[in-house]
């Protein structure tokens, strides 16, 4: 049976502009999570839970790390949590990045945009356990928003792109695709316009994308988060996704 978890806050840090890294203690989740899955967090005073991707796990210490951007009331309240407090979470929810079909020796392109970078980091860590070559393209608004570059550099050939050129390459993530060379498959997570650009640019490549939508239940019951599929049907982002094959869904 699924559970509602009380996760203890271990650490809260601002690691970039408006960007919070929070480490939570919950051994079960730390052991079960697949990259791309999310926590569905209850913030007291708000009706709906907030979906936040898992950015890393440490199954030995029993911890789970999330990164989030402060955009509205819920994330603002969450950012004010102190170590020792607990967060009510459902999870790990959804289906993450399937990496079973990633073969030894493949070259994998990872594309993360903004607050879509954390689940891509989690995936990169998992892939780095396999014998594959990783190339990461990370896009941010501007220099102040950049995070996790060093962590990526340890495991992947890393390109950082900022919209305004204040750090790394200037422009959109797609602007450096010409530099990254050939790859076997790609994985991407980021804002919808970025995913649209990425999937269009790479339309002939095998790829998986992680999507967002406003959620009600977060567990597949309410039909708030549906997405049309190419076979004239639909998928639920919260429970069928958030990760889908780029070929399968209509963005």
């Amino acid at each position: 049976m699924k559970k509602r978890h009380e996760m203890e806050v271990i650490a809260v840090d601002t690691i970039a502009k408006e960007t919070i890294e929070m480490t939570l203690y919950q051994p079960e989740i730390s052991q079960q999570t697949v990259p791309g899955q999310f926590l569905h967090l209850l913030v007291p005073g708000f009706t709906l839970r907030r979906p936040i991707s898992i950015a890393k796990v440490n199954s030995e210490e029993g911890t789970v790390t999330i990164l989030f951007k402060v955009v509205g009331g819920g994330t603002k309240a969450l950012a004010a949590y102190q170590p020792g407090m607990t967060v009510d979470a459902l999870g790990p929810n959804g289906n993450g990045f399937q990496v079973d079909d990633v073969q030894e020796g493949e070259r994998i392109l990872l594309v993360g945009g903004g607050i879509g970078v954390p689940p891509i980091y989690h995936l990169a860590k998992r892939l780095s356990e396999k014998n594959v070559e990783l190339v990461a393209v990370l896009g941010f608004q501007s220099k102040d928003y950049v995070f996790y570059e060093e962590a990526f550099q340890k495991i992947a050939e890393t390109y950082v792109v900022t919209n305004d050129g204040s750090y790394g390459h200037q422009g959109f993530v797609t602007h450096v695709f010409s530099e990254v060379g050939a790859f076997d498959q790609y994985f991407s997570c980021g804002p919808l316009p970025m995913l649209r650009a990425v999937t269009t640019e790479l339309k002939d490549a095998a790829g998986k994308v992680s999507l967002e939508e406003r959620m009600g239940c977060g567990v597949g019951a309410c039909m708030a988060c549906v997405l049309p599929t190419v076979d004239n049907s639909y998928k639920k982002i919260c429970s069928d996704g958030p990760v889908f094959s780029a070929q399968e869904v209509i963005l």
Binding site: K2, G218, G220, A221, C222, M223, V226
Partner: protein, 304 residues
């Protein structure tokens, strides 16, 4: 403590059921607890054909509430009977089917379809969905239309019919009386209030459908008022809903005039909402000197 309630067609082990549309067909929440604990399950709306519903975003958060405009997405009544009802029937609980449509004919089609199965125990006739452009809403705001669809469905169906009323009306008592006269076995109230939220950066409605239905604790005072008003003038049973999230809320609904209750939005915040309420109900009733759910209903009878 005895939590049992008897309603037309339904003997409920307790008065708590998940509200239509907030629990799918039970599959997802069956991964959190045993659905046999529930008084009943009200399924997501069924229409004649499969419906894909409205574009997204379909939900928005509001103070103590939320807006939704799902648009009755469902696989169609035949597939519901074939795939969903049998799975739910494995649990020791009652099943109520929520019947929707855009025309009288569609309501009748869907209602009669449920005659095929022995596993559905009652119909909830949804004449109050604010989120579909055609049909639904007129049936729920015009007493004559409500009467017609209720009579037609009563005639077509072998099952007790609970008509689900819309709160978006000037006079709820008039609507309740109309469907009672038309032969409704019970009422279900309230559905959502039509609301809207704007997306400030664009100044446009945040929900793709523009308006959505407001649910959650924000609307509880309106639900209580409407149930209380209807209870004074109508004698068929009422399944009450609108913002219930605690056992105290359930007591308030029962005192106001409901005979059983449904829990909607609260499931999203707490997937265990229904069972947590069932667990807390005996102590809550005791704290207020009630000896059973029926006792609340009986003593309300005396007071009114």
């Amino acid at each position: 403590m005895n939590l049992e309630v008897k309603l037309p067609g339904l003997t409920l082990k307790n008065p708590i059921m998940p509200a239509s549309g907030c629990f799918g067909f039970g599959k997802e929440y069956s991964e959190f607890y045993d659905l046999s604990r529930l008084g009943a399950v009200i399924m997501k709306a069924a229409t004649q054909f499969e419906r894909f519903g409205n574009p997204t975003p379909r939900v928005a958060e509001t103070s103590s509430g939320m807006l939704n405009a799902i648009g009755l997405q469902n696989p169609g009544v035949e597939r519901i009977i074939a795939n969903e009802v049998p799975r739910l029937a494995a649990y020791d609980t009652s099943i109520i089917a929520n019947v929707a449509g855009s025309s009288l004919e569609e309501y009748v089609f869907v209602a009669s379809a449920f005659n095929q199965t022995k596993d559905v125990h009652a119909l909830e006739l949804n004449i109050s969905c604010p989120n579909v452009k055609e049909g639904g809403i007129q049936f729920g705001t015009d007493p004559e239309m409500a009467k017609r669809v209720t009579s037609a469905v009563k005639e077509a169906s072998n099952l007790p019919v609970y008509v689900k009323l819309s709160p978006n009306v000037t006079n709820i008592v008039e609507m309740a009386k109309a469907v009672e006269e038309a032969g409704a076995d019970g009422l279900s109230m309230i559905n959502t209030l039509t609301g809207m939220k704007l997306h400030l950066p664009t100044g446009k409605p945040l929900i793709a459908n523009q308006t959505g239905g407001l649910s959650g604790p924000a609307i509880k005072p309106i639900a209580i008022r409407m149930i209380y008003e209807v209870r004074q003038q109508v004698s068929i049973p009422i399944i009450g809903m609108g913002g219930i999230s605690t056992a105290e809320d359930v007591l308030e609904f029962l005192q106001a005039g409901a005979d059983a209750v449904a829990v909607g939005t609260a499931n999203f915040q707490n997937p265990f909402a229904c069972v947590d309420i069932i667990d807390a109900l005996p102590e809550t009733l005791m704290n207020y000197q009630y000896t059973s759910v029926q006792d609340v209903i009986d003593r309300r009878g005396v007071q009114v």
